[in-house]
C-alpha cells in the first residue's frame, strides 16, 4: 500500500503555563490515507486541538515545545520545514476550518476578496468567475451578493460555508475540521456535514475531524481515535469502536450519554474528573476513574497495542510484562 497522506509518529507537545509544564499531547501516533475520514474524539483538554495545531504548525513558538515525534505529510517532514515551503502547504495542500467561522474570517475584507487573496498567494491568481463557482459549490445562495458581502453581513451558517469555500479554494488533499459544527444549530449541522461529505468525494480529499461530538464521529468518519489526557486510548474502525468499545474510558463515556428513548432514571456516570495535564496520574491516566482498574494500572503506563483489529492501550488486553513496559 502507498504511503499514508499524513503520518504522525510518537508526537508529544508540551505547553508552559504559570511556570508548569503541561503535557498536552503524549506519544501520539496516527495515520490518515488519501480520501479517508478520521475522527479524533475526546473531551476538552484531551489534547485533540493541540494535535491539529501541531500538524498545521500553528502552535505558539514561545510557550510550546515538541519534545519528540515526527509529522509526515506526503513523506515530507512538516516539523523540519522552513517558513516559506510551510506557507505553501498551509492553505494549499492542507486546509483547516474552525469552530467559530466569524473569527476565522477577516472582518475588513469581503468574502470574495478573501477567497481571491488565498488563491493568489497559492499561485492561482484572481479569477472572479472561479470564485463565484466556489461559492456555488458550497451551496451559498446568491453567490454574487455573498461575494460582495463582509462577514458580519451574512448568517452563521453562511459564514461556515464561506470558510469551507476558503478551505477548498486550492483543492487541498487534507482538510482539518476542528469542531466544524459545534457553533451551529442542529438542523444546520447536518447540512454542513452533508456538504463536507460531498466535497470530500468530489475532491478526493481526506478529512481529519477534531471533535467532542460522539454523534458526529459515529456517522461521519471511517476510522476513529479516542483521546484521554493527551494520549490515544483506543483507535480503530468507527463502527467497531462505537458498537463494541474496548477501552473502559470509551465504553463508560458512551454508556454515560443520555439517549432519546431510554427511560429516565440514572445515567451510569464516570466518577471523578479528567486530570489536570500538568499533574497526570502515574500509570494509566484513566486509572483513578476506571471501573475495571486492577494491580498494574497505577504502576505501568499501558502501550497502544493491536487487539482484535484495532489498537487499545489498556492492561486488560495486554499484560504489562508481555508488553515489556
Amino acid at each position: 500500500m502507498a504511503d499514508p497522506l499524513l503520518k504522525i509518529e510518537n508526537l508529544s507537545v508540551d505547553y508552559r503555563r504559570h511556570g508548569k509544564r503541561v503535557h498536552a499531547v503524549r506519544d501520539v501516533s496516527l495515520e490518515l490515507n488519501e480520501g479517508e475520514t478520521l475522527g479524533v474524539v475526546g473531551e476538552s483538554g484531551c489534547g485533540k486541538s493541540t494535535l491539529a495545531m501541531a500538524v498545521l504548525r500553528l502552535l505558539p513558538d514561545r510557550d510550546s515545545r515538541i519534545p519528540g515525534g515526527k509529522i509526515f505529510f506526503r513523506s515530507q517532514d512538516l516539523l523540519a520545514l522552513d517558513a516559506e515551503p510551510l506557507r505553501r502547504i498551509r492553505g494549499g495542500q492542507i486546509a483547516v476550518i474552525f469552530q467559530d467561522p466569524f473569527s476565522a474570517l477577516n472582518p475588513v475584507l469581503t468574502v470574495g476578496d478573501q477567497l481571491e487573496e488565498s488563491m493568489e498567494v497559492h499561485g492561482g491568481g484572481r479569477d472572479r468567475a472561479k470564485t463565484l463557482s466556489l461559492l456555488e459549490r458550497v451551496r451559498l445562495p446568491d453567490p454574487e451578493r455573498i461575494y460582495r458581502a463582509y462577514p458580519h453581513q451574512i448568517s452563521g451558517g453562511q459564514r461556515q460555508r464561506a470558510c469551507l469555500a476558503l478551505a477548498i479554494a486550492n483543492r487541498p488533499a487534507l482538510l482539518i475540521a476542528d469542531e466544524p459544527t459545534t457553533a451551529l444549530d442542529v438542523t444546520l449541522q447536518k447540512e454542513i456535514l452533508d456538504l463536507l461529505d460531498g466535497l470530500r468525494r468530489d475532491l478526493k480529499m481526506a478529512i481529519l475531524f477534531i471533535t467532542h461530538n460522539m454523534g458526529l464521529v459515529s456517522q461521519r468518519t471511517d476510522r476513529l481515535a479516542v483521546m484521554y489526557a493527551g494520549e490515544i486510548v483506543e483507535r480503530g474502525k468507527t463502527a467497531d469502536v462505537m458498537s463494541a468499545p474496548l477501552h473502559p474510558y470509551t465504553a463508560a463515556l458512551l454508556r454515560s450519554l443520555p439517549r432519546l428513548h431510554k427511560s429516565a432514571g440514572k445515567l451510569p456516570i464516570i466518577p471523578g474528573q479528567p486530570p489536570d495535564l500538568s499533574a497526570v496520574p502515574g500509570g494509566c491516566p484513566f486509572h483513578p476513574r476506571c471501573p475495571r482498574v486492577f494491580d498494574p494500572c497505577a504502576e505501568h503506563i499501558p502501550a497502544l497495542l493491536p487487539h482484535e483489529g484495532r489498537s487499545v492501550s489498556c492492561h486488560l488486553y495486554h499484560s504489562p510484562v508481555a508488553a515489556g513496559r
Binding site: M214, L253, P258, R259, L260, L267, I269, I270
Partner: protein
C-alpha cells in the same frame, strides 16, 4: 389543582435602535403568545434552536426581562402582586456557562452565604453568621456532591463540572420551588455531563423541585423532562408529554429536530 407556575400568552419584543440618538428602528420578536402551566414537582423541557426564544422565556420567568405582553401567575397569584423577594426565592436559575455566572473575586463561602442571607430575610430571621453560616454552607455543598472543605476556595480553582455544581448549590440556597436550568451541561466536560444530569434528577426527587430545562439538545431534555414545549422563532410548535412527542410527533419541525439526533443516541 392550581398550577405552581402559569404563563399566559407571553410575548417579548426587543427594540432595535441605531444612530447617534439610539432611535428605535424596529423590533425583534423573540417570543410570541407562548402559554404553559407547570404543576409542583413537574419538569418541563423547552427545546429549540438558537433564536427560538427559549432562553428569553427562561429569563422572563426569573424576572430578568419584563414581557412585552402576557401574564405570569405564581400559585394562582399574578406576578405583579408578588413582592420581588418572594419571586426571587421561589424561582432560581442556573446558566450554561458556570464560569461566567460565578463572581471570580468571591470565595465559596461568600458566594453561598449571600443567598442564605436572602432566605433568612424571606423567613424573617437573622442571617446566619460565623459557625452557623459555615455549617449551612457545608450542608449546601454536600447536597450537590461537592467536598465540604472548600469554603475558602475561589471559582478558578474548580473544574467546569464543579463550577456548575457550585452554581446549582447557590440556586438551591434560597430553597426555591422552581429551578430554571438553561443549557445546564453544554459547557461541562463530556465525561462529567452524566454526573450533572443525575444530580438534577436527584434534586428533582429529593426536594420535589419543579424544573424547567432549556436545551437545544433533545437527548438532555428527553432525559430530564416529563413534558416538552418545542419553540421556533418565538412560537410554540408543539407541546405535550415527552414520551408521546418522541414516539409520535405531529409537527414537521419537531420531526426535523428528532432526525438530527444521531442514531447512536436514539
Amino acid at each position: 389543582m392550581t398550577p405552581l407556575l402559569r404563563a399566559e400568552n407571553l410575548s417579548m419584543e426587543f427594540a432595535v435602535t441605531g444612530g447617534v440618538f439610539r432611535r428605535r428602528l424596529g423590533a425583534v420578536r423573540a417570543l410570541h403568545n407562548v402559554s404553559f402551566s407547570l404543576n409542583e414537582g413537574e419538569s418541563l423541557g423547552l427545546v429549540g434552536e438558537s433564536g427560538s426564544g427559549k432562553s428569553t422565556l427562561g429569563r422572563i420567568l426569573c424576572r430578568l426581562h419584563r414581557p412585552t405582553s402576557g401574564r405570569l401567575f405564581w400559585d394562582g397569584r399574578p406576578m405583579e402582586d408578588l413582592p420581588p423577594l418572594e419571586w426571587a426565592s421561589g424561582i432560581q436559575m442556573i446558566f450554561q456557562d458556570p464560569a461566567a455566572s460565578l463572581n471570580p473575586k468571591l470565595s465559596v463561602e461568600t458566594i453561598l452565604a449571600e443567598p442564605l442571607g436572602l432566605r433568612a430575610r424571606v423567613e424573617k430571621k437573622e442571617p446566619p453568621r460565623g459557625a452557623a453560616r459555615r455549617d449551612a454552607v457545608r450542608e449546601l455543598l454536600s447536597s450537590v456532591g461537592l467536598p465540604t472543605d472548600i469554603l475558602s476556595h475561589y471559582p478558578h480553582q474548580f473544574s467546569g463540572g464543579q463550577k456548575q455544581r457550585l452554581a446549582i448549590a447557590r440556586a438551591l440556597a434560597v430553597r426555591p420551588r422552581v429551578l430554571v436550568a438553561d443549557e445546564p451541561v453544554s459547557a461541562v466536560d463530556l465525561s462529567l455531563q452524566a454526573q450533572i444530569l443525575n444530580l438534577l434528577s436527584d434534586l428533582k426527587e429529593q426536594y420535589r423541585l419543579t424544573t424547567l430545562i432549556i436545551s437545544h439538545d433533545l437527548t438532555v431534555v428527553a432525559h430530564l423532562a416529563d413534558r416538552l414545549l418545542v419553540l421556533k422563532d418565538g412560537e410554540t410548535m408543539e407541546t405535550g408529554g415527552t414520551a408521546e412527542i418522541l414516539a409520535e410527533t405531529r409537527h414537521p419541525y419537531t420531526r426535523a429536530l428528532l432526525d438530527a439526533v444521531p442514531p447512536l443516541f436514539r
